[in-house]
Amino acid sequence: MTAAVATRDDTGGRTALRGDAVLGGLMVAPIVVTMIALVIVPLGQTLWDSLHRINPMQPGTPFIGAANYARMFTDADAGRAWTNTLLYVAIAVTVETVMGILAAAVINQVQIGRRWLLAAVILPWALPGVVNSVIWLWIYQPGAGLLNGILTAAGLPFENHVWFNDRTSAILAVAVVHVWRMLPLTVVIVLAAMQSIPGDLYEAARIDGAKRPQMFFAITLPLIRSAVAVAVTNSTVAAFNIFDEPWVLAGASLDTRPILVQIYLETFQNLRFSYGMALSLVLTAASLLVSLVFVLRLYRTTRFE
């Protein structure tokens, strides 16, 4: 980010006019006003308010220090929601990365109609998360759903099987929908990196007698590492912020409830505004921290090779 920001600075030097300062200020003014009013001030307010008790049902907004943060450690529901969230993150990141690399490798081999194949693969990402969720709600439907229909047709005892009665299968069912939506992003990022690998490298490896799998592990994987780091970061942040899928598929159920649903319930049902803010700040920090770790680790391994 910083590298790109530091680029063009004195290019306008010769042509710069005094009016530039005024014009520049005017041109960025709408952005500055919007961002200050709707992001920066509210963010500061979130930080400040999370140190107070703010609940429309209780009088006053006394300063309570870190009490909202301390409360998380004894809040059983929040603890359950954190566990569920981490499960989603673990499943989503693993599956999206492995399947995403494989899918990109397949698409990279296709010569005819690659654009259309890519369009088909991107489609689930472009749909509203809510619509994805109702699509799968219908697939998971016990009596008439596609999934039980296929399994029953294959001779398996899944007639009227309810996927959301059991925590493990419920979590997996939600994770599948999330992966369905987010996999395309990994594919696009990894595919672009694969396409930028020069063909000469593979040609040279072939002359040296390397087999396809060897080329994949010795050439492709090392050269797409930084793209994979970017994709993993995106997957992580998206999985930490999962909301639509569990909310539409299973509502407030504790079996599948992620932390963002917990925040929504605490805030808009229990009206514990400041506790919700504290939770959302911790969630933000957690997702940023985890993705930072991924990026640093993947970059380091690349450098030491």
Binding site: M1, V5, T7, R8, T11, G12, T15, A16, A21, L23, G24, I31, V32, T34, M35, L38, V39, I40, T46, D49, A103, A105, V106, Q109, V110, R115, L117, L118, A119, A120, I122, L123, P124, A126, L127, P128, G129, V130, V131, V134, I135, L137, W138, L146, G149, A153, E159, V188, I189, A192, E203, N234, F243, D244, W247, V248, T267, S280, L283, T284
Partner: protein
Amino acid sequence: MMKPSPTVRIVTAAGVVVLLIWSLGPIYWTLASAMTPSADFSARPIHFFPQNFTFDHFLRLLGINVERIGGVLVWQQFRAALFNSVVTSLAATMVCIAISALGGYAFARLDFPGKRVVFLVVVATLAIPGYAVLIPLYRIMIGLNLIDTYLGITLIYVSAYLPLTLWLMRSVFDSLPVALEEAAQLDGAGRLRIFFSIVLPLVGPGLTAAAILTFLGAWGQYLVPLVFSPSATKPLTVLIPEFVTKNFIDYGLITASGTIAITVPALVVIFLNRYLVTGLLAGSVK
């Protein structure tokens, strides 16, 4: 180029089939179900192709021949939600693109005090998820009487997608050669004239990419309108899950309304996927 061996060809072909089934299968099933009579839904063994076609679900959704479903004027709600989705997504896209094109050009080409810091701060907010500011925004919007208004929800979408579109637009302007603008300046053209008549026509693809990302993002939003657009400006994404009630779920209505909500993003992906991929890449490698 390497000649692919038969094994590679077979593995690739199998992979393509799996990818297509995985990506399009659920969408196909939604379209097929939307055209299957409700009576056929629980038929076992399952039919992968509808045995009987019907447009009944769409007719019910659009209020043709049916006024009320379960005592509710579904078609009025649906029509309003479709209209709201289109209006808020388009408004957010146009405002976002307009101000990030102006700002992106200023950040790329003009010198003004605080330029670097401002850009850095705006782009850094990409890392801040929307819900971290949701509650204060809710209170601000209540204070300004902007809950459940087009203006309120549009402003929130704009603030959410602005950092991304600004980042995209600045890198697009950065990649243009300065020579053209310098030549125009020697001919006596002013900055604004250069911007509108020379630079802007050259950045069509970049603008398209930024517009697509904003539009798809706004079209798919759920948590934000759930809080800020509860009734009069309720979009499709908030209405559709409401068809899922505790005691009875009308899957015909759900799949039919889902089909309509899918159509718009599907058209974008089919016809504009080149720009979309560019935008996704520029946006993700922040």
